[in-house]
Symmetry: C2
Subunit: 357 residues, 2 copies
DNA sequence: CGCTCCTATGAATACGCATTCACCGTCATA
DNA sequence: TATGACGGTGAATGCGTATTCATAGGAGCG
């Protein structure tokens, strides 16, 4: 059989059902004017012919593809996998699909944008990746809304949804202070994106506010990954020129996990007894028995909701939203990678119950 | 500005460049008959107008969308995330994109198929999900090639690429035997797919061949996930009615990791001293310091290559490949979750070096 | 110089569907 | 019975591009 064999069209169905092609179209368009009886007749004919409407063809007239592009720069961090999964589920429930564009972490996504423009996607979500403002206006000019997820470009007219990273970083600082830490370290990746930078800033500022001296805080950079944090931690602890920290903030969970494993399996230190560790994101992996990571939970579902609402997928006549910056507060989840101060015992138990469900 | 504002067409470009629309089309079609000078002129005009060819419209005539659907049933297992990532990278390099369809694990993907038919995708890859044979013929009838990744339906005319799971299971059995294990346990998820079943079969058969008695092998089922294996392991070890196994095969790496953590953090056992553990997949997570998982490596790159070559994306005139079953041998990677017998020391050191690169 | 051959281009058409507009029959109303 | 009003249908058109076919012009040859 030839490859492009029998793909029946609305005309074929119309012929079989004894109606016109317009009627077939209406039979598949909810809310259009057609007699129930006729619709049934058409659907039966369609079934016989294995007819499925060609959404490519209909996009041509409706100017809607029901496709949303997701540009994603880091699938090695489980957090972004969860983000992808959440978007996919939500959009599928709306009858839309995700067209995925993977880019190298920290590389510009400009090329991806050029490609997705061809596909006439209804909207774009960009996460864990960089983007030039030129590309944003290119999308806007063409009527394609774009939302940055967990990223923002201050002063640009790009819209974004993000966790309030400054406030979140402060939460970890507070947890450390409440647990009685004295010397602080933080491990972060490159600061190209605003995400890490904000967390670092919130963390450091809160510590300084709490009376900690600058000299009590060490900042280490590594590749923004489990391995990067693993190696950076080893370097940090082996550096005998400074006092060993007793609190370590991994700027995201996957890095905190790398740090914990380095501490335990390379450096022979105990967590949290010798060193308490805090993370950020609350990925399910951080809840596992070896980590029990105290962290800031990013409310993914809510952030995805916000993102979709900004995209206005349902009514394309809305003007494209510009310059929106919607920071959403995260919540501190107490587990045992930071010793739980008495005041927070109840909260920690609640989190534990929730995890075990 | 209105939403669907200024999206210029090939006619606009033609007008600006002083040529006809056909010439614009040719300017963007590699290998078509057009004078270099003219092409340059057209491209300049296109640039001025921010013109990007509308691939939706061109699909209508070419009958190619350059979109490949990927149905994926389990993003919680990092293995499938790597699979997704690999497909995405490969296809993007060819100028194609992945349209993602997430389905609930172990649910039928029939609905997803109905949706992707609308999008006129050029091909379909299905992984970690179930599918009825009816849907396969539906795709085939419409000229859409579909390949099952790590899954096959014996006797059907579906094509598939998979790791040779029977042989792989046997490799773990051999490793256990070489390490001197006496009592064996295996933890597996539901056996709906062929993947787990084959691994179990290869494992058990190889043990029996090696003189192990049936009574020395315990099989435990749990949800096919980290947590499922974690809980199943606890149940297994706490069952005092039988001797404690000294070797445990997690039917995939993520389950093996769950098992290891349960052994260490709930049951107070040491790995590999009290219990050796083997996995399957060789996900990067299993290489981490706490796990050092001895496992069977699935050659993802090669499997993806095979899959793409079966899809024949480049020449749609090829007849749709039916009934292909391409098993690919995996390779045992020695790490330290199984004590390395002297004969394999060299191999293990090599793996270690490779990991640390 | 006249012819053919070939290359570069333009005009026209098809792709599959949504949508507009006109039309027809029916029913309720005056 | 005549008049609208309205629900349902069909014919025709447009969406943006690829492709076919015809043509103009130039190069090469005898």
């Amino acid at each position: 059989m030839a490859r492009k064999s029998s793909r029946s069209t609305s005309f074929d169905v119309a012929a079989l059902a004894g109606v016109s092609q317009s009627v077939v179209s209406r039979a598949f368009t909810p809310g259009s004017r057609i007699a129930d009886e006729t619709r049934t007749k058409v659907l039966e004919a369609a079934l016989k012919l294995n007819y499925v409407p060609n959404s490519i063809a209909s996009s041509l007239t409706t100017k809607r593809t029901n496709i949303v592009a997701l540009i994603i720069g880091n699938l090695d961090n489980p957090f972004y996998v969860h983000v992808l999964h959440t978007f996919s589920r939500r959009l599928q429930a709306q009858g839309r699909q995700v067209l995925i564009f993977t880019v190298e972490p920290n590389s510009e996504s400009d090329e991806a944008i050029m490609h997705l423009l061809k596909y006439q996607v209804d909207g774009v979500v960009l996460t864990a990746a960089q983007l030039s403002t030129r590309m944003i206006s290119l999308c806007h000019d063409r009527g394609i809304p774009i939302v940055l997820f967990n990223r923002y470009i201050p002063g640009s007219d790009a819209s974004g949804v993000r966790c309030d990273n400054v406030a979140g970083g402060a939460l970890i600082a507070e947890a450390f202070l409440a647990a009685g830490a004295q010397n602080f370290a933080l491990i972060t990746g490159d600061l190209k994106g605003t995400t890490s930078g904000d967390r670092v800033r919130g963390f450091v500022e809160r510590l300084l506010d709490g009376g900690v001296k600058r000299s009590q805080i060490v900042e280490v950079h590594g590749h923004s990954s489990y391995e990067g944090a693993f190696n950076a931690t080893i370097k940090l602890i082996r550096d005998k020129s400074r006092v060993r920290p007793d609190a370590l903030f991994g700027v995201n969970d996957i890095m905190a996990m790398g740090a914990i494993d380095a501490l335990r399996h390379r450096l022979g230190l105990r967590v949290p007894e010798d060193l308490m560790v805090g993370g950020f994101d609350d990925i399910p992996e951080g809840r596992r028995a070896p980590y029990q990571l105290t962290t800031v939970r990013q409310p993914i579902e809510q952030m995805v909701d916000e993102t979709l609402s900004i995209l206005h997928l349902d009514d394309p006549t809305e003007p494209i939203p510009r310059g929106i910056d919607r920071p959403i507060k995260g919540r501190l989840i107490w587990r045992s990678s930071i010793p739980v101060p008495p005041a927070y015992r109840g909260e920690a138990d609640a989190a534990k119950n929730e995890d075990e469900r």
